[in-house]
């Protein structure tokens, strides 16, 4: 039995791109249907950054990897609200210089920096973007203290959180998409089908006409087929799934060829006091070497501390019992490397690969060394870098040894910032879509998520994704009204 739905606009994915698109379109009177592969999980019902959260709200339980030398572990949200439900909530406007350079290099029309920044202002107000009114976590203070002692630029990054007056860092309420844009879209008449995976968009020439989905809640295989007819479809599945969906639809021009990420390397640092706050991350970032290298704090659940020590268990393992005194930090770089997302016929998930350049490798090594220096300055007793064969770093001499021993091929490299797999712009040699997300070679297939960003922005990307999605959604409404 096949269930059938109709709508004006089908939106695939309900993350930063999909939720904002749905709200703008539904409020403009379009009959919107959102399909989301993951479940709707209420904020606060799962412990943040836990394995349980990974089971419920991440794709593949959080174990996804871009193959390469080294391979890069990445994570994607897979739930109503997408990555916005599980992420650290650290808000950065896209840098003006980045927007200017994208406009010129990719020939993006009607892309004034002022317009994008004024949409950012709206987003900041809707998401209650603000700094922590009260106390910071010890892990935050460590990063600030270490950077201050070195005279390195650092700052508190505001988050999309609401707090009661004077509340501390751990008392915020995350203003993710299930709290903000999705309720707005639903109030304006949009519908959402969670746990529905879009498999394929069916085309007739330049027009997409329907979509084939699987209802993942259906008890048996024979009862889980769903089809949807629509006027237009907007794909917002995130930087890995969006190109896979397009390729399965036969749309390949510049699709999935230019995956961009912010690769990170990590370390764990042990202090004399309890510094671990398992359910939260540092809100400080060190920007002395930005945009090339930035430092920040990672989730530090005891399980994640064990994970950070795994590669050198014989030498580092005994530290695991002191996990309350340990916290995990990362050095992130802007990468010049690029990756591929490719569907393989007959296989459900796409093949993802990434190649770091020589400069990327060098930057990761420099980043890890400087991050370890911040930790020592902040008073760390021992630092455990995450690469195979790394020494325990207790002082500057160990640090020098560690820097010479570092080899990125032996490091645990990971990323949570993925973009640029269907870049937008009027330069059709570089771009998969036009300047407003319409996929080349089609009349009614749009992309409106992180895949559109022509390059990794060098800062946490969600604000860039949302601002561009709102811009394009408004343009869509204006075009369809005319």
């Amino acid at each position: 039995m096949t269930v059938h739905h109709d709508c004006d606009v089908l939106i695939v994915g309900s993350g930063a791109g999909g939720a904002t698109t749905a709200a703008v379109l539904a409020e403009a009177g379009h009959h919107v249907l959102i399909v989301e592969e993951g479940p709707w999980v209420e904020q606060g019902s799962v412990v943040p950054f836990s394995l349980d959260q990974m089971d419920q709200q991440y794709r593949s339980g959080g174990v996804t990897v871009a193959l390469g030398m080294p391979s890069i572990a990445y994570t994607e949200g897979r739930c109503a609200g997408g990555g916005t439900e599980v992420n650290s909530g650290l808000y950065w406007r896209p840098p003006e210089a980045t927007l200017d350079s994208w406009r010129i290099k990719y020939r993006i029309k009607d892309f004034s920096t002022d317009d994008v920044l004024s949409i950012c202002e709206e987003v900041e107000s809707t998401l209650s973007v603000q700094k922590v009114p009260g106390e910071h976590t010890p892990a935050s203070d460590i990063l600030r203290r270490g950077a201050d002692r070195l005279g390195w630029k650092n700052d508190e990054i505001p988050r999309w959180m609401t707090y009661r007056d004077g509340a501390g860092a751990t008392e915020g309420h995350r203003q993710s998409m299930t709290r903000t844009y999705l309720p707005r879209a639903l109030a304006a008449g949009a519908r959402i089908l969670c746990e529905h995976r879009l498999n394929k968009i069916v085309r007739s020439g330049r027009r997409a006409v329907s979509a084939e989905l699987t209802d993942m809640t259906a008890a048996t295989d024979g009862q889980n087929a769903v089809t949807i007819s629509f006027r237009d479809v907007i794909v917002c599945g995130g930087a890995i799934q969006t190109p896979a969906i397009l390729q399965r639809t036969g749309l390949r021009h510049r699709v999935g060829r230019t995956l961009a990420v912010h690769p990170t390397v990590k370390l764990a640092a042990r202090f004399d006091d309890v510094v671990n706050t398992p359910d939260d991350v540092s809100v400080f970032q060190v920007k002395e070497f930005a945009p090339n290298i930035s430092f920040g704090g990672s989730a530090s659940h005891p399980g994640l501390v064990a994970l950070a020590l795994t590669d050198n268990w014989r030498d580092f393992g005994s530290a695991v019992t002191s996990w309350p005194e340990l916290a995990i930090y990362y050095a992130a770089i802007t990468s010049e490397g690029r990756g591929l997302v490719q569907v393989v016929p007959g296989v459900r998930d796409p093949l993802v690969t990434y190649r770091l350049t020589k400069r990327d490798r060098d930057l990761l090594g420099q980043g890890l060394g400087r991050l370890a220096m911040v930790m020592l300055e902040a008073g760390a007793k021992e630092v455990y870098p995450s690469f195979k064969g790394a020494p325990v770093v207790r002082d500057r001499a160990d640090l020098a040894a560690m820097t010479t021993m570092f080899a990125v091929a032996r490091a645990s490299v990971m990323t949570v910032h993925l973009c640029s797999t269907a870049p937008m712009g009027d330069d059709d040699k570089r771009c998969a879509t036009d300047s407003h997300g319409l996929v080349r070679g089609t009349d009614n297939v749009f992309v409106n998520d992180a895949a559109l960003l022509p390059e990794a922005p060098g800062v946490n990307p969600q604000a860039s994704v949302m601002a561009i999605a709102i811009r394009n959604a408004r343009r869509y409404c204006a075009d369809r009204a005319g």
């Binding site: 593949s60 339980g61 501390v305 393989v344 998930d349």
Partner: protein, 121 residues
């Protein structure tokens, strides 16, 4: 192989390898904890993206077949030592998943797998 795996349904190649690896790495980890950790590892491997999953299962089957002929403990030692790019990722993945689960579920676990209950007994 430990009781925790032999008393279950027929274990997969991944489960056998994971159980043996954790038993050697964390000798004082109670059998029931190891059994839970192995079940978690199997669950996560089942939901890996297709291509990674095929790769892991192929390596697991090869390692298992070699173990049947040459002895599981011996093959495990070789796998841990051989610096072959894809092969080294296999025990690394199993350990990462297993350790993350163990310390998240029982954060008081000692580095050799000993637990508070074990210490008290």
């Amino acid at each position: 192989m430990s009781d925790s795996v032999t008393t279950q349904r027929v274990p997969s190649s991944v489960a056998r390898f994971a159980d043996g690896l954790l038993a050697v790495d964390l000798p004082r980890l109670p059998d029931s904890n190891r059994c839970d950790a192995v079940a978690f590892i199997e669950r996560r491997i089942r939901v890996l993206p297709s291509i990674t999953r095929f790769g892991v299962q192929a390596i697991a089957a090869g390692v298992h077949a070699a173990g049947v002929t040459l002895g599981h403990a011996r093959v495990r030692r070789v796998v841990l030592k051989l610096p072959l790019p894809l092969l080294t990722e296999y025990p690394r993945l199993i350990r990462s998943l297993g350790y993350a689960y163990i310390w998240e579920t029982w954060p008081d676990t000692d580095v050799d797998g000993g637990t508070v209950e074990g210490r008290a007994a």
